[in-house]
């Protein structure tokens, strides 16, 4: 039995730098597999919609402009997403990825929490329809 068993650690810490990360002045890069914001590339999409069906938070909505021409637009609700990455593994064609560089997504307005993905022409078409 000793009094003050943590003596070595405690006194040693007087001479070491504190381990606290000084966020946000100093930022560490997240690892590669980090699950940040979703990203969709429309090239390989076949419009099966499994990603939208399997999302536990109903954060993905697929808008079909023309199924035969493979023109789809994805509406992604960032505020509903739980970043579980199920959609990435449900998709059989590898259209979805999670970006490791966009994860500080605080915003002051509601509009920035809905992201639209698609080819340039399709996006304009859908947004014009919506307006």
């Amino acid at each position: 039995m000793k009094i003050g068993a943590m003596f070595g650690d405690v006194v040693g810490s007087l001479f070491k730098k504190p381990v606290t990360e000084r966020y946000p002045k100093v930022r560490q890069d997240p690892p590669e597999r980090f699950r940040g914001c979703l990203d969709w590339s429309p090239d390989k999409c076949t419009g099966c919609g499994i990603c939208a069906m399997d999302c536990p938070a109903n954060a993905i909505e697929m808008i079909v402009i023309d199924k035969k021409e493979k023109r789809f637009v994805l509406q992604y609700h960032v505020d509903r997403c739980t970043f579980c990455a199920q959609c990435i593994h449900s998709c059989n064609h590898g259209c979805l990825t999670m970006r490791a560089d966009l994860w500080e997504m605080a915003a002051l307005d509601k509009q920035s929490y809905t992201k639209w993905f698609g080819k340039a022409g399709d996006l304009e078409y859908v947004l014009a329809e919506a307006a």
């Binding site: 039995m1 068993a5 405690v10 690892p31 536990p56 739980t82 579980c84 449900s90």
Partner: protein
């Protein structure tokens, strides 16, 4: 010291909000001076209707719902669910996926026990151990973030396998982190068994004999500290524990010090197990193909969560949504032991005794149906529930 102005039936309420509790629960203790004479518990403040919500989502979505029942044992909930659904569908996950599943489960066990070590020492007033153990917990969380992409709620499982693979770089990362952790864990074991003031708060306090532990139905490290051999990984090995067996950690005194020792030694055992898995990882693919509709049937799964035995009952009726999922978590088994041990102990020891079972109140608020033979069961609508609540609290004249 007895003060005459404190009455005999002096009730101290702990909760629902209290700095000793990390989650809401209500304990009502009758105190005479500093000795507790009676204890009463009331739970249910963190009930979210998870089992009912699971019936509205399809099999794939339910996994993420169940994962969020608890923050620190989330992976083991998801593993239990996936094992149950795979049993119903008659599919077995490939061996590499099973090994990775239990690797993440053991990493989670280390993470959970380190968190508990910090919280329990904070309850004892030993803030330094709290700060240091949570600093070392960051190592485990960084390993898990590199492996799965998130620090809690790893979502590493898929129905039929796992999402993420372990390549050489990952394995190196894990080994380095574990080396650092093993040194620190051996140091913590020494502190927990030799620091004089800390032992004054933990030795011979809250002691539970082996008989009491068996009668009260304690599970997990709480039971193992009282020499009860109860560990699902050893008694009924599931998943890859058949290839990578675990040796059980037992202590015989049953007091708080024994619980500390059991958990720290379990962490060391987990480190050894992870190193063994990394050396002998089987090859193969990561996930098997699962149908979207699961054939009808019932499945029962028992796994070893960091707190004890976790029990899942899954019932399917052939559609793409589960019919009934029942979750029985280990904390609710250990709660009666707290009430038993509280009587006769000092008021200052109550937070320590409560922390000794590693309570996870958000895990343990599930619905319990009480069988009343005379009345028939029925489903209440929101309006009926509201009216009942008003009548209960304010009387019938409302």
């Amino acid at each position: 010291m007895q003060e005459s102005k404190i009455d005999k039936k002096f009730t101290v309420p702990i909760g629902p909000q209290h700095p000793a509790l990390k989650e809401p629960a209500f304990f009502s203790l009758n105190v005479e001076g500093e000795i507790v004479t009676n204890a009463y518990v009331r739970l249910g403040y963190a009930h979210r209707g998870v089992e009912r919500a699971a019936e509205e989502r399809n099999w794939v979505q339910t996994q993420y719902l169940l994962e969020r029942i608890c923050g620190i044992c989330s992976h083991i909930h998801s593993t239990a669910y996936c094992l149950g659904v795979e049993k119903l569908a008659g599919i077995e996950a490939p061996p590499r996926a099973q090994a990775i599943r239990i690797l993440v489960a053991e990493l989670e066990r280390i993470h959970s026990h380190l968190l508990w070590l910090g919280v329990a020492s904070h309850e004892a007033g030993f803030d330094t151990l709290f700060m240091y153990s949570w600093r070392d917990r960051e190592t485990v969380m960084d390993i898990l973030e590199g492996l799965t992409g998130n620090r809690v709620n790893y979502s590493a499982n898929l129905l039929g396998g796992v999402k993420y693979d372990i390549d050489n770089a990952q394995a190196d990362n894990i080994s380095k982190g574990l080396e650092f952790l093993q040194e620190r864990l051996i140091y913590y074991l020494e502190i927990v068994t030799s620091d004089a003031l800390f032992l004054k708060r933990t030795r011979d306090i809250g002691g539970m004999t082996r008989n009491q532990a068996e009668v009260l139905g304690a599970v997990g490290p709480t039971a193992r500290a009282s020499n009860v051999v109860r560990d699902i990984r050893v008694e009924a090995p599931y998943s890859a524990y058949n290839q990578f067996p675990v040796s059980i950690v037992l202590e015989s005194k049953g007091d708080l010090e024994a619980r500390f020792v059991v958990r720290v030694k379990e962490m060391l055992e987990s480190c050894h197990l992870i190193n063994r898995i990394l050396d002998n990882l089987p090859g193969g693919e990561l996930a098997a193909r699962m149908k979207r509709r699961i054939s009808p049937g019932e499945a029962v799964v028992r796994v070893e969560a960091p707190r004890g035995e976790l029990f899942y009952f899954i019932k399917s009726n052939g559609t793409d949504k589960p019919e009934r999922i029942k979750v029985r978590t280990p904390t609710i088994c250990n709660m009666t032991s707290v009430l038993k041990l509280a009587i006769g102990s000092q008021l200052a020891d109550i937070p320590m005794i409560l922390a000794g079972i590693d309570p996870c109140f958000s895990c343990n608020d599930r619905s319990v149906r009480i069988n009343n033979r005379s009345s028939k069961t029925s489903l209440w609508t929101w309006e009926e529930l509201r009216k009942y609540g008003i009548r209960y609290y304010y009387g019938d004249h409302h």
